[in-house]
Subunit: 235 residues, 2 copies
Amino acid sequence: MQEKRKMDAYVLLGGPKEDWPQDIKERFVSAQKAGDLIIGVDRGALFLLELGIRPDVAIGDFDSLKAEELGWVENTVGDVRYSVPKKDWTDSELMLAIAFKDYLVDKLFVYGATGGRLDHAMINFFGILNPDLRQYANQLYLVDKQNLLFYRSAGQYQIQKQDYDYFGVTCLTPVKNLAITGALYELAPYSGDYIRSFTSNEFLPDQDTFTLKLESGIVAILYSKDLVRFDNVND
Amino acid sequence: MQEKRKMDAYVLLGGPKEDWPQDIKERFVSAQKAGDLIIGVDRGALFLLELGIRPDVAIGDFDSLKAEELGWVENTVGDVRYSVPKKDWTDSELMLAIAFKDYLVDKLFVYGATGGRLDHAMINFFGILNPDLRQYANQLYLVDKQNLLFYRSAGQYQIQKQDYDYFGVTCLTPVKNLAITGALYELAPYSGDYIRSFTSNEFLPDQDTFTLKLESGIVAILYSKDLVRFDNVND
């Protein structure tokens, strides 16, 4: 059990392939080699098999899969969890519960969460706000070809630079004294009670971190980059 | 002035072209012919010119445009509004204020709001929650190749079916007694204080509307369709 507690999980949801990072296969293969848990949700389970990766867990109602596709999933995956439509919990929330509560994973990296249907994307962005799940907010990361989205609840953090150009912070709940220091645009302690984004911020050229402070509430931190580079002659 | 009050507006933001509806040019051309206001925001203003459509208003800091591109915008567009970086209002919020407060538009249809950078998408989804703007929530529509997102504040509505397969409802503020009737999945009056989505709902086969009731708060209604059709043999 001790070992399980330190395991990360890599999850593939059913979002469109065009929004995946180009090296998604390599990421899942090396995660599986490292002993991390691999989870496929709905069509994401099939996508993993098509990539040559056997999920440890498959979750969903699988109603978009053909019978032989579902058979492939059922015959290959050790732990298949069937969800029911017209349910209180969405597949995405069910996945968070299974990963954090049953498998006790540490960090959870979710791919295939963006693009395509916006109702799905909303669930994927905000499912962690479910009161039964929000204790795990700091452990969740959504990744696509040009964005990394993660969450921070009350506390003080040194947020590490990564290979992205911009970052934004979005208040997902009422927040008290949200402050950003050591970044291009500092934010003096802000309190507010609606979804508000502070965006297009950047790391300072000589800094690998910025400081985020939050007295109460949950924020999303969004790292992003432009995929198309424009020559920039007038700024 | 009376005429201006009934004008709609069509807006193009700078999101990736891959997420536009295929017939976007025809939509803007016919809107302009009908006398509706055409607005381009940042690179969206250039995209409109490239489509052969002259915006009535261009808004942004335009820092991603080359000098000659900006010159094209400035020499073509009658009303150019320059925003400043490190500002309290984002370009997207500024656009909403100009359209609703200066031009008194009725419905506002926004394209280029999704895909690409998630920090931009968040601003585009949630900018209307700015307390100075939320009075206009019922007039805002975001459109991409497979989604239509609009908003409803407290009231009772007959929501019309359109050419989409699914709909979801997401609570963007605390809500009191949100109820859905006359749809595949009914929602008994729900009150809650966090961002929560009720998703993958459908119109009843014999119904052109469903009823949405909301005692207080603001919700987003998301219409969506799958772009790739899967054969469905096991449901």
